[in-house]
């Protein structure tokens, strides 16, 4: 039975920013809450949404966009909406930003064709696309979470910090400045294919190139986000009831075996 004030799941630009199954992250959060009887409400944060809506959600989910769509989004986020989003994230609202959306949380993104797009500057990182003919970073990936606070929380929740599995497909290369990386690349390219870092972690926001999508494959991250959001809403410690994640576990084992990765304890 659903109870309490519904948890508001904010979905950034559902039609503009959903390129590679990104809505799977939203579906995962929504179902895992509903399956436990926690009321949720999906709030589309779109071009016709009021600016307040951006600051009033409990969780934020952002996906990837093609370059043209990304430009439309950035234009819309100038001003109050962007400020609301930034305030929410700075204030600790949990979020997951996959594929293209970390680029717009950084300082700027330079697309393969066209002009530099200014980002929100929430994350201290920059992204540059090396041009339309450059190779894209494509493939299955395995990540070891290095973001210290997130790793500590997971250790407490699960007694271990599982590897994250995903799939990346991006032309842009991201360089972190002072932002803390989300993870270390075990398999794959990561932020730029060079420095072994992947994504960024700040406040309670996870930014990563790993789509695939991220949360249904790694349900512990979804539960961590729900727990954070509920604790912020209820102002007390929340322990979620366990769900049957046997299929996600089996899928993980299959992928790690295929990639020849041994998960360290």
């Amino acid at each position: 039975m659903a109870n309490g004030t519904p948890l508001k799941l904010g979905w950034l630009y559902p039609t503009l920013m959903s390129t590679y199954g990104d809505r799977g992250n939203l579906t995962c959060l929504q179902r895992r809450a509903e399956w436990r009887g926690i009321a949720v409400e999906v709030v589309a944060l779109d071009r016709d949404s009021p600016a307040e809506a951006f600051a009033q959600v409990d969780v934020i989910v952002g996906g990837g966009a093609q370059d043209r769509q990304q430009e439309l989004v950035m234009r819309d986020l100038q001003g109050e909406k962007g400020a609301g989003l930034k305030a929410a994230l700075d204030g600790g609202t949990p979020g997951v930003f996959t594929c293209g959306s970390p680029q717009l949380l950084g300082h700027y993104y330079e697309p393969g064709v066209g002009q530099r797009i200014d980002g929100l500057g929430v994350l201290d990182l920059v992204s540059v696309h090396p041009g339309p003919d450059a190779d894209r970073c494509i493939g299955n990936m395995v990540l070891k979470i290095t973001a210290s606070r997130l790793a500590a929380d997971l250790q407490k929740m699960l007694g271990r910090v599982p590897y994250v599995i995903g799939f990346e497909n991006h032309g842009g290369r991201t360089k972190l400045q002072t932002a803390e990386p989300f993870a270390q690349v075990i398999k794959g390219y990561g932020n730029n294919g060079e420095d072994g870092t992947e994504g960024a972690f700040q406040g309670n926001a996870i930014a990563t190139y790993s789509h695939g999508p991220l949360l249904p494959k790694n349900p512990f991250l979804a539960d961590w986000m729900l727990k954070k959001a509920l604790e912020r809403q209820r102002q007390e410690e929340v322990n979620l009831s366990p769900l049957d994640d046997a299929w996600a576990d089996q899928g993980r084992v299959m992928m790690l075996n295929r990639l020849g990765v041994q998960e360290s304890a």
Binding site: G24, R31, D67, R68, N169, P216, Q250, G251
Partner: protein, 449 residues
């Protein structure tokens, strides 16, 4: 003259390669001979393509190339043309060359009337200047195999650049697809010849979808970027639309779709039917012939193919991207909605090169209706757990709806799925491309095909 001699030599070597590959049981030799021939005669494709008296039709698009080409081929043959067609689906440059080579004599002469060549989206711009087709048929542009090619916008831009300089070519475009419609309208202006830009599309509002599906790629005006207004959607982003800002709207189709029958099942096959008919008309094929070809049409390899396995009717519905999958699932749910046990479905999801290595698209497919229905869904393939999770997350409570059974062993999965079919009902097999080949191989191994 030198060109001719080299072409002859290229053909001779290609023939030997073909014979070797086949005799060693290495495959159907649908690509390698083309590669070898092009090394000896780099102009091979151009020299072969220009020999067709009725010209060449290039068929491009994300979904429906094979089905449409096969129907067009029937229409041409029923009209009396002799046809070359790259029937194996080898649609990259070497595959196209190999298909033309196979119909040339030892001197490099071809005496067929017309060639139908399915072309990969990204190869199109490379072969256009060499093949110089009489007709380019562009079916649709959906999000497919993005991991190989980048994104829909980029593909559209490259197509436009490649087609514009072609003199004497006619384009047949899906007017319900905003990207292709805009593309045609640009060409109309540039070429100043309306007869060279033809459209096909639907005008049957009673077949609109109730809501716009999620797997939509471009519902923004390709001209000015404003959100398009849709009076209705037929599938994915194909529909009746207009831009509130710049006035851009759907182009008028050549045929009135309501007057035409269709092949197979599913609305996407209505599009394929209209595409083939509109193209064949440009070659003077009579309407009575077209209607006869449509009536007689049999399903292409793995595309809505119907078989009987141990007494159970089985339909194989190739499914390789969200749009195709949505249409397939819609057809399955509709066909079984009044059945007490719902549908029995075997979904096989692979992530090899021909399938696209990224399976995240399954989250863009609308699996809810099937997963919440009363049926049984057996799941197999390289990424069976990804698919099992997709289906579970489509249910309001895990298990509230269809029974979901993951089975890694495909042979076993087929057995289980067959056993789950209630008497008198059909098993629907929904595989990705490489999975379809595996399914067929297993059925063939049992002496079924």
């Amino acid at each position: 003259m030198v060109d001719r001699i080299r072409l002859g030599l290229a053909i001779w070597v290609a023939r030997v390669v073909t014979a070797l590959v086949r005799s060693l049981g290495l495959g159907a030799a649908s690509v390698l001979p083309g590669s070898v021939a092009r090394r000896i005669q780099p102009q091979a494709l151009r020299l072969l393509a220009r020999q067709y008296g009725q010209g060449v039709v290039l068929v491009a698009g994300t979904n429906g190339k094979t089905t449409t080409s096969l129907l067009l081929r029937s229409m041409f043959e029923d009209h009396g043309f002799s046809v070359t067609h790259n029937a194996t689906g080898a649609n990259l440059v070497n595959g196209l060359t190999a298909a033309l080579l196979a119909d040339a004599n030892w001197w490099g002469r071809i005496d067929r009337d017309v060639a139908i060549l399915e072309v990969d989206e990204n190869v199109l711009r490379l072969v256009l200047p060499e093949i110089r087709p009489r007709v380019l048929l562009a079916l649709n542009l959906f999000r497919d195999q993005l991991d190989r090619y980048g994104e829909v916008d980029t593909i559209a831009r490259r197509w436009r650049e490649a087609i514009a300089p072609l003199e004497n070519a006619t384009v047949v475009l899906n007017g319900d697809d905003p990207t292709l419609s805009e593309f045609g309208q640009q060409l109309e202006k540039q070429w100043e010849d309306l007869a060279r830009v033809q459209y096909f599309g639907l005008n049957e509002p009673d077949r609109y979808l109730e809501e716009i599906p999620h797997a939509v790629d471009s519902i923004y005006c390709p001209r000015c970027g404003t959100s398009l207004n849709y009076r209705g959607v037929y599938l994915s982003h194909l529909g009746d639309y207009q831009c509130p800002s710049c006035g851009f709207a759907k182009s008028k189709p050549r045929l009135n779709s309501a007057d035409w029958p269709q092949i197979l099942i599913g609305l996407y096959n209505k599009y394929n039917t209209l595409a083939a008919a509109a193209t064949a008309q440009l070659f003077g094929v009579e309407e009575t012939t077209l209607r006869g070809s449509i009536r007689e049409f049999k399903a292409a390899f793995g595309r809505a193919e119907e078989l009987t396995v141990e007494g159970t009717p089985v339909r194989i519905l190739l499914s390789k991207n969200p749009v195709g999958t949505n249409e397939t699932l819609r057809a399955i749910v509709e066909l079984s909605q009044d059945r007490p046990h719902g549908a029995t479905v075997l979904v096989v999801l692979n992530d090899r090169i021909p399938d696209g290595t990224d399976v995240s698209w399954i989250w863009d497919a609308d699996t809810e209706k099937l997963a919440q229905s009363a049926g049984t869904i057996v799941v197999s393939g390289d990424r069976l757990y990804d698919m099992a999770l997709r289906l579970t997350y489509s249910q309001p409570q895990p298990g509230a709806g269809a029974r979901i059974i993951p089975e890694a062993d495909l042979d076993q999965a087929i057995k289980q799925a067959l056993a789950a079919v209630p008497a008198g009902e059909t098993l629907y097999i929904v595989p990705t491309y490489s999975a379809m080949l595996e399914v067929r191989q297993i059925l063939t191994g049992r002496g079924i095909l």
